[in-house]
Structure formats: C-alpha cells, structure tokens
C-alpha cells in the first residue's frame, strides 16, 4: 500500500487503554492483522493486513476497537430512522456478499415489508444492535448470511451463527421466546444457458475455483458447490451464455440506464468491487457520480463499460481491490487486464482517457475519494464525451 495512504485516515484503530489482552480479536481475525505479541502479551494491529471485516469490532468485550464503517452509533442511528420511516417491525440484516436485491430478499423471507440493513459482513454486527433493535419495537430479526464456505471474510458466517444461538438463548431466558432472531444462509452463483454455450472452454481456464468442467462430448458443467460467485467466467464468456445470480447483464444494464438519466454532467459512473470500498449508511454520492457495486471487480463486463459511454456517461471508473486484497483468488488482476485491453481499443477511437481502473481498500477510506476526485477533474478537463 502506498505511503501516502497510510498517513491518512485508517478505518480500524485500537484504544489500548481498555485492552485486557484477552485475545478474542486475534483469535477471530481471519487475516492475522491482530496478533498477540509473544513477549509483551499485548495485542498488536497490522493495518496493512486488515480487510475491515469488523469481526474484532463486533466481538471485543472491552470495545477496544474503533471502526469507521457501520459502528454501533451509525447502525443504531440508521435503525432509529428506518423504524420511524418504515411501518414494519421486521428487520433483515443482510451480508452484501450473498444478498440479492430487495425484491429477491423479500422473496427469500416471504415478506414484502421490512427494514433492510445491508452490511459488508453480518459478522460485524455487535450484540447491542440486536438488543437495541428489540427495544425499538422490532419484533422479528432475520439475518441473511453467506453459506459458510462462501463467506468472503472466512469466519464471518460461522461467528454469526454462534452469536445468534447465544443471543436466542439469552432472549429466551428474558422471556422473548427462543426464535426471535432467525438465520438464513445463502450464496449467489453462476447460471449456464446451455442453449447459448458454444463449449469453447474459456470458463474452465478463467474459473479461480476449478468449478467449470468441459467434457467432449457433454459440454460444460459447473460444480456449484465449488463456485464462489466472482463472476469472472460471466464477463469472459464469448457466447454470453453465463449469468451470475443478482448481477445479471440485464439488471446491470437497467442500473446504467437509470443512472445515466439521473446523474448530472460531467457524468461519472463507478463500478465498484463491493469489498474495495464500503459506502456509508445513508450516504449520498455527489450529484455527478453514481456507483454500481459488483461482486468482485472481475465481474466487470466490457459490454457495460461501452454501454455507459453509449448512454452519454462521460467517464467510467473501476474501483477494485489490489490482487493481494482480492477475496476471489486474485481475480481482480484479471479485471485489470481486461479493462486495460478495452482501454487500448478505446484509445483507437479517442475514449481511453475516459476509462480509469484503480485499486483501493476500505482500510484507507480516503483512497477512493482521492481517485474519484482526480478522475472527475480529468473528465471535467476533457469535456463532454462522444
């Protein structure tokens, strides 16, 4: 990570005055960012390894950890506001890794009226949020977590499962009943249209998880238990025969269409890996910027980039994780390569400067803002696109 960024705001901090070195955080941390020093017994934080999952924040018994996104105060403020605005007494806490869109979530839980809370990992929700939600008059709390082996933060889903069992036991003793918090696990995976598949085998080469197999005769099959939903195969399929649940080509096209109409010039569209930057709760983008979250930067489809330009967007930015931070086996490197490839072709028609690929991390929240500011400036100088 560059030096400049490390000097700026950091998303996770320890307040060592309260730390009793219990090591709950270092036991939970999936990335060895928090470690117990063998000599001093103190817990140390190596921010460069932190992926801002928030497991340490949610589970530290002494509240030593400060976290910038989705901390207790902002979660509670969000719930208070949503409770007033929504007539529903049902809360659905969703992990962005496995939650379909609002309609999809409604279908999964069989309810159309609920308070949605979308977070980068349900494992980061502290106990207090569940308890305070009940105090606010919310009577049903549903949690949508990723399937255990689909969890981008490795331990987020299992930790949530245990937390909910413990909370339900506690709530039962308090007289709220045993099943007040329910947990559903889900994941979003590839879909094949066998009628469109031309059996070229590109997906076999690109899949980071060896989920695709091409047999001759027999064609393509996907081992869905191995698929982890990065979307790289979908973006690379020469026959447009693959789709990723919730990130279907048509759905993204609709978003591009809507955003291109509502955004102010100079129009900037950012395709953002949902692990590269976390949007604040209740945050609003600048009037000339819109974000489309992707499951991984590798789902970036050149079709969508070009479509944005066709719809009058002046600049397209792709915000990805670095290869080292990538939750999908370095698939972001493939994304970088394919964006560079498209950039070279766009260069032939004078559009190259209007496409920008950058790598950012939620651990340095200013990174995305800086990239966006520089890119906006460049687009402003370039003026109106084709």
């Amino acid at each position: 990570m560059n030096e400049q960024a490390t000097q700026g705001i950091v998303a996770v901090r320890q307040n060592m005055d309260y730390c009793s070195s219990c090591a709950v955080c270092s036991t939970l941390c999936p990335y060895e960012a928090l470690k117990k020093d063998a000599e001093t017994g103190k817990i140390t934080l190596d921010v460069t390894k932190c992926q801002v999952c928030g497991l340490c924040y949610a589970n530290c018994p002494a509240r030593v950890i400060d976290i910038l996104y989705y901390d207790l105060d902002s979660l509670l403020a969000y719930l208070e506001k949503a409770r007033q605005e929504t007539a529903s007494d049902t809360l659905i806490i969703m992990c962005r890794g496995s939650a379909p869109d609002i309609e999809g979530v409604a279908e999964l839980f069989g309810t159309s009226s609920f308070i949605p809370l979308l977070v980068p990992c349900v494992g980061r929700i502290p106990d207090e949020v569940y308890l305070k939600a009940l105090l606010m008059g919310i009577n049903n709390i549903n949690v949508l977590a990723c399937d255990v082996d689909y969890c981008r933060f490795e331990r987020g889903s299992t930790t949530t499962g245990r937390k909910i069992i413990a909370l339900n036991l506690l709530l039962d003793q308090l007289g709220y009943g045993r099943d007040i918090i329910t947990l559903k696990r889900h994941s979003l995976k590839v879909k094949v249209d066998a009628n469109l598949c031309i059996a070229c085998g590109n997906c076999v080469f690109f899949c980071p998880y060896d989920a695709a197999e091409l047999k001759s005769p027999g064609g393509i099959t996907f081992d869905l238990s191995a698929c982890r939903g990065c979307g790289l195969c979908v973006a690379m399929c020469p026959a447009i025969a693959l789709e990723l649940e919730n990130w279907e080509q048509e759905r993204i096209s609709q978003l591009i269409n809507r955003f291109s109409l509502e955004v102010e010039p100079p129009k900037i569209l950012v395709f953002r890996c949902q692990w590269a930057s976390f949007p604040p709760l209740n945050g609003q983008p600048a009037p000339n910027v819109r974000f489309i979250d992707l499951p991984c930067a590798s789902r970036i489809d050149r079709f969508h980039i070009l479509e944005a330009f066709q719809k009058g967007v002046d600049g397209v930015m792709i915000a990805a994780c670095s290869e080292d931070d990538c939750k999908q086996e370095k698939a972001s490197g493939r994304a970088q390569h394919s964006v560079a490839n498209l950039g070279e072709r766009l260069g032939q028609i004078g559009f190259k400067e209007r496409l920008h690929f950058c790598t950012v991390s939620p651990r340095y929240p200013e990174e995305l803002d800086k990239e966006l500011e520089q890119f906006s400036q460049r687009i402003k100088e370039l003026g109106k696109g084709g």
Binding site: I198, C237, A239
Partner: protein, 213 residues
C-alpha cells in the same frame, strides 16, 4: 486454433463508412477465445461510439455463426438475417470472410480481423505462436511432436543450422531453436536414433492447393 487479431478500428470504420445497415457476424470456430456473440456486440458498440464522433450513425445487427468457413452453416444462419443488410463485417479468419463472399456475392464482406497463422497460446503470458504450417506431409511422428517447418525460422528438415545458440534462434533471442527443442524432446523419449535415420525427400506437391474428400 487459427490466430487472428483485431484490425485497427479506423481501418474497419473506413470499410463500413459508406453503409448504414451493417451486419456484424461473429464466428464461434477456431480462435480462442472465439470471436462470437460477445465480440460482435463489443465491436458494434466501439464502432457506434467511433461513428458518433464523426456524426455517422450505423444500424448494426449482431449475430454469430458456429463456423463461418462452412458454407452450409453460414448460409443457413445468415440468409434469414440479410434483409436490408448493405454490408457484412466478419469476425472470422480469412477463410470465413471468403466463404461469406461466396455465399453472398452481391454484398460486400469486410474482415474485422487480421489472420496470422495456425498456432497456440501460452495463456498466462498471452503469447500466441505458430505451430503448424499446413504442409500436407506431417513430420511430427519423427520430430518428437515439434514441427520444424513452422517453428524453425528456416524450415530446416535435418537438424539445427550453425546459427543455433544456447537453444535460441540466431534471428531472434526470443525465439526457441526448434531443432534444439526436438533434440531435447527425443532425448527424453530415448529416441535420438530417429535423428540419424535418413528419410526420403519430402513430397512438396502434398502441400498443394486442393484435396478431395
């Protein structure tokens, strides 16, 4: 596979500039990745953007053919789509383009790709190299599966020349000496004696221009 690369977009734009209704025909055949439906769509989007800068509007139809070099397949897929089409932009190799030109003699067919050779790709490096020269008299059984005609700069048939150095060709330090590769391969297979056997002269007529099935 047959190796092709995209022509510069301004060249392609020059081909289709006089026309408005253009069919972009992909080919799902030999290249990897195939220049199929996705590539046809991408090209139509790029050309539309380029055309817009020149105040030129196109009406593109995009489609793909399983193998453009098969005149029956090409005709059956494309004929029903040819109403109002003034020109076709083909993403196939030179063979596919020529097949379409035969199937639709009244309509101009333009290549969107340059065709290089029959080759294979080192995918991680993204490098494509010629592997077969289509000589009609395959030698691979005695050369350890490495073709000296396609892969030796000089197409030598009886061993390395004096320009082979450290396993590389004298013409380019990037290029492996095919005869060094053949030697190493035969050594692994304990078949170095093959190099000492004399072979009758090659029949160059076999490379020919026409064969019958």
């Amino acid at each position: 596979m047959i190796v092709t690369t995209q022509k510069p977009l301004d060249e392609v734009l020059g081909f289709i500039a006089p026309y408005s209704n253009v069919l972009i025909a992909g080919c799902d055949g030999c290249t990897q990745p195939p220049r199929g439906l996705r590539e046809s769509k991408t090209l139509s989007q790029l050309l539309e953007l380029a055309g817009r800068l020149q105040n030129k509007g196109f009406n593109f139809k995009v489609t793909t053919v399983a193998k453009q070099c098969d005149n029956y397949l090409a005709a059956s897929i494309l004929k029903p789509q040819m109403d109002d089409v003034e020109a076709v932009l083909s993403l196939a190799c030179g063979i596919g383009v020529q097949t379409l030109a035969e199937v639709f003699p009244e309509i101009p067919i333009f290549p969107a790709q340059n065709t290089h050779f029959m080759g294979a790709e080192e995918r991680e490096a993204g490098i494509l190299e010629e592997r077969c020269a289509g000589c009609g008299d395959c030698l691979l059984a005695v050369t350890g599966g490495i073709c000296p005609i396609a892969r030796c700069s000089k197409g030598l048939l009886s061993g390395a020349c004096g320009g082979s150095k450290d396993g590389k060709c004298e013409l380019s330090a990037d290029r492996d000496c095919a005869w060094c590769l053949i030697y190493e391969q035969l050594k692994k297979q304990n078949k170095l004696h093959l190099l000492k056997e004399s072979r009758p002269p090659r029949d160059y007529q076999l490379s020919g221009w026409r064969v019958t099935t």
